[in-house]
Symmetry: C2
């Protein structure tokens, strides 16, 4: 079910700049028991993206009402939110585009084998690199060709792929963020100032680690850091926490911290 | 007037990956006397883009028929062609998306003051940089947020903006390619291996220079090269050739070579 500007519709005008230029932002999040999980944090990131692109914000009170109505009665589903700059004249110039398009979509949840959480996943290494573009880093815009190219590189033998930037820094998964538990048991996750999406589940994990007093830093990471780490896990608002059991021929354990984080952020109950 | 997969329609399903990820390519070209100008070269670049993204090509015979039909009877108009990967399941994985969406749009031509061609334009310098991403360089895909950000930087005092890459190389205009006529009267235009769109009008100009025996090279260019050049011009399939009369406080002349190129590639008769 899809609503466009509050009205049932499964189509968009072709002149919408969301299609023409990827001129918009989006979020996907879990719906549980009729409620969108961590909606506030998702809307916060969405607003950051709108600000970065200077897209006028939709009327949030009105939109919130529409979002909550769309989620009502859904036990377990996926909520997708898109805001585009709306329709415009021909050309890149975003001026005079004052009516953003807001889209709310509710779809069934994908189910994954329990083993992904319990034993972990196989993580591929993608050859596609993320370009360094600070103006578009951190938020979730509609320009996602790099992710499409990276995702096309691996088949169902792998559940996720690791992507580096053009300078060789480890950045994230194609649809998730990455955390390393280092030999000294401290945790580290890549800085996302040049590229990458700062996931809401990444924020949840960072907060949990902070609450628990576990040393954690955000910094530059290399493949060597991956290899020398004690354990690896991936985060995403829909999957929660996936431990990595294999990466580049090396196996990694599901350490207790990963299980504790999984219990803390559980998105499946 | 818009046709989607050969049928009159001005909307697209929201689940089309063109909207969700900018997963597609496009072209804009001039229609004159019922015929799309340099359609072959535009379709060649479009096909290169489809190949780079591993999007299946639409049936070109069928599509060509649709395109020519859409242009018939149009004295002067703009043709926009879009091919997206079509609809897919949720997620970046492009596999099993075998039905590309083909869009044909015909719109009225923008008219520009004759002075842009005769006296030249004012060229702004954009602060927004293009990220270096060889996988997406040269062709015209739907991920165009960098162009939107760059175009937003200048107002109607300027007719175009010059964009550099993150390493400081001069690359192109927001909607055009750039050529410098150097002090020794040779011509140079930026290499587009890391970013930028290799315009069809750029190709037309390169061919004309070659035919005329005028030395021309494709290479790295800096702002210093701009400043030390004898003359500058911008190229685009719809505008043809625009000389630059002012850039960063310096004025440039409309030299005879620019007028000759304009006469050669004329898109307005």
């Amino acid at each position: 079910m899809i609503w466009v500007n509050g009205v049932f519709s499964d189509t968009l005008p072709i002149t919408d700049r969301g299609l023409l230029y990827g001129d918009g932002v989006w979020e996907t999040l879990a719906i549980l028991d009729g409620r969108p999980l961590r909606l506030n944090w998702h809307l916060e990131r969405l607003q950051q993206g709108l600000q970065a692109l200077a897209i006028p914000s939709p009327d949030m009170t009105q939109w919130l009402t529409e979002i909550l109505k769309a989620c009502r009665g859904r036990d377990s589903a996926v909520l997708k939110l898109i805001v585009t700059r709306g329709q415009g004249m021909r050309g890149y110039n975003p001026r005079d585009c004052c009516n953003p398009t807001r889209i709310v979509q509710v779809t069934p949840r994908n189910t994954y084998p329990a083993s992904y959480v319990q034993q972990g996943i196989r993580l591929a290494l993608c050859e596609t690199r993320l370009a360094q573009q600070p103006r578009l880093a951190g938020f979730k815009h509609l320009n996602r060709l790099e992710q499409v190219l990276a995702r096309a590189e691996f088949d169902s033998d792998f559940q996720e792929g690791l992507v580096r930037d053009t300078a060789g820094n480890v950045i994230e998964g194609t649809m998730s963020n990455v955390f390393l538990i280092q030999a000294d048991s401290s945790v580290v996750t890549p800085a996302l100032s040049q590229c990458g999406v700062a996931g809401v589940m990444r924020r949840v994990v960072l907060q949990a680690l902070h609450e628990w007093g576990i040393p954690c830093r955000i910094g530059s990471l290399s493949l060597d850091d991956m290899h020398s780490s004690q354990a690896i896990f991936m985060t995403n608002s829909l999957i929660g926490i996936w431990p990595v059991r294999e990466f580049m021929g090396k196996t990694y354990p599901v350490v207790p911290l990963i299980s504790a984080l999984h219990a803390k952020v559980n998105v499946n109950t």
